[in-house]
Symmetry: C2
Subunit: 331 residues, 2 copies
DNA sequence: GTGAAAGCGCTAACAT
DNA sequence: ATGTTAGCGCTTTCAC
């Protein structure tokens, strides 16, 4: 028969000290005589004791848990983000509670409602687009929130935000694609708020270079490679006049490059293509894909730093991190 | 000034009932008169109350948390796995606590030690290779463990395992690559236990087809595209005689396909290449990459099902899920 | 440097 | 159908 999980009392008894002394071993070991420390340490090891963090939390300690809500865990870009956040959190002894909102604001709200019951010390939200209910819930919970990934071009954040500007991304793409002579650009993106900002940046960039207003082609919400082929095919079929395409995701951009290859369209001479995300793959395409790159790791780590600052009582700060063009052969 | 987080007592007071009645609203609402239910519901809404799960756990309820330890969160394959597990867990009201072991058994042990303090109801371990310390710790913790991803070809599991057989993967690859006339195969894999099993399956497959014993070329632990180019380059430089290569990961396989293209090596006539993982990318290469595919989503979901079965008292079961060859043009 | 008492927010067991 | 009592495992005073 297996014994039940040992408690601090068991440790104390075995070590011949009081419970509170055993407790202090973890939080203020310097207060214990070294001989006492040794006794307690031995008891802990003998019992295989690990303190019940739920009880600590109840007794007033911070929960040492951070909640991360992510739009799509399976998206490799978000996976990198989560990975970066996790490792930084681990350095500070914080545990990561994670959930996938599947791009659904209602689900985000529901998950949040549930997970708030864990009393996390802080919250990392991997997108900046929330329902008003979520916004309100978060504010009244009074838990520090860092919105990660996008930087809110609207300027409005719950507490703090760390990320890249969608507007800037569109802008950079336009400035790059419209450099050649007689530029006629197409914007291929989804119909969501995020790509709306990129679209605005894109049109602004085209404008500033004196290029004609860009066309817009709508992509599904969840990007994949095949969409890029379809998009290019349709654009060609519709006899649109264009010589540059910005895809708001590398996957469809890759598809477009491949279709261009198949059709014998010369990149970048006849057509310039640029993607977003700087997938490992992009550099290995033939021709290699130009892509707007975003410092994912840095965003993740800095978001955690910002959160920790807030936990230490500092005032929330906004951090806009720079995106940059990785020049490939496709543009 | 903000009020502190409301408790069940606050709810009870506001609703004019006792604390336990308010508590039952969550767990056994059917026991409450509907008028009482309404009163409590209103109080909860008015206060924005969400029950403190740490307190519930302390009072004897299951923690409703599941711990997942993953080798590398940033690896897209694991990201898909985690995503699948998370959504299945969510269906059952279980929250996911996650950590990244970075392929390091010592770190795995340390993380486990810490995270056991959360008293998770179950544990999902995304690899089957652990240090003996970890093994012991897990056994004495008496928390149900499902090892996910690989199926232990050794037959030994902590409690239960859900995954594909590495041996089978090597075997399938060999059977496929050695089908042509006069096969001379190379195995490109890392120097770890996982690829050791694949190697054994691979040699067995070659054997059974009467092919000569395969050569082995060692790849770094963390795969990338460039490694495949290097590998093929070196194999060619060393004037080894071979006409088929199995890469234990799609990334280097992709690199090899690309180098073959550059060098004008005809795939699959002069050289047959097969990878592992069936990355989205594989199908879109030119020529498309053959790859051993593994049902990642299914593994994740079934692992969670198995865990839930164990939580319900069922005896642990082993589940070996089939891998399959996705035929491309590269072999 | 160590300990005793009280309490964190909840629930199980036993009333009524 | 609802309430009372006791206690989960820890930490916070406040003593010594």
């Amino acid at each position: 028969m297996r014994n039940k999980t040992p408690t601090l009392d068991d440790v104390a008894k075995l070590a011949g000290v009081s419970r509170i002394t055993a407790s202090r071993y973890f939080r203020q070991p310097e207060k214990l005589r070294s001989t006492t420390q040794a006794k307690v340490a031995k008891a802990i090891a003998d019992l295989g004791f690990s303190p019940n963090l739920a009880a600590s939390a109840l007794a007033g300690q911070p929960s040492k848990m951070v909640l991360a809500l992510v739009s799509a865990l399976s998206n490799p870009l978000f996976a990198s983000l989560v990975s970066a956040m996790q490792s930084k959190l681990a350095e500070h002894g914080l545990h990561l509670l994670i959930a996938d909102t599947q791009y659904d604001p209602d689900q985000e709200f529901q998950l949040l409602l549930e997970l708030l019951g864990r009393r996390p010390d802080g919250i990392l939200l991997s997108t900046i687009f929330h329902s008003p209910k979520t916004h309100k819930l978060l504010l009244q919970s009074a838990i520090p929130v860092v919105e990660v990934w996008d930087y809110p071009d609207s300027g409005v954040a719950i507490n703090s935000a760390v990320g890249f500007s969608n507007h800037e991304i569109g802008y950079i793409a336009a400035k790059h694609l419209c450099l050649g002579p007689n530029p006629k650009a197409v914007f291929c993106g989804a119909n969501d708020e995020r790509d709306e900002w990129r679209w605005r940046g894109f049109t602004q960039g085209c404008n500033e270079l004196g290029a004609p207003p860009p066309q817009r082609y709508e992509l599904p919400l969840l990007p994949d490679i095949a969409q890029g082929k379809t998009a290019l095919k349709q654009l060609l079929a519709n006899q649109h006049d264009f010589n540059a395409i910005f895809f708001t995701n590398d996957l469809p951009a890759i598809g477009a490059v491949q279709l261009a290859n198949e059709l014998g369209i010369q990149l970048p001479n006849q057509l310039r293509i640029c993607g977003f995300g700087n997938t490992e793959f992009a550099a290995h395409l033939q021709p290699s894909l130009s892509s707007i790159s975003v410092p994912i790791e840095q965003i993740g780590k800095q978001a955690v730093s910002e959160l920790i600052n807030m936990l230490n009582g500092k005032a929330p700060q906004m951090h806009k991190l720079p995106a940059s063009l990785i020049q490939g052969q496709s543009s």
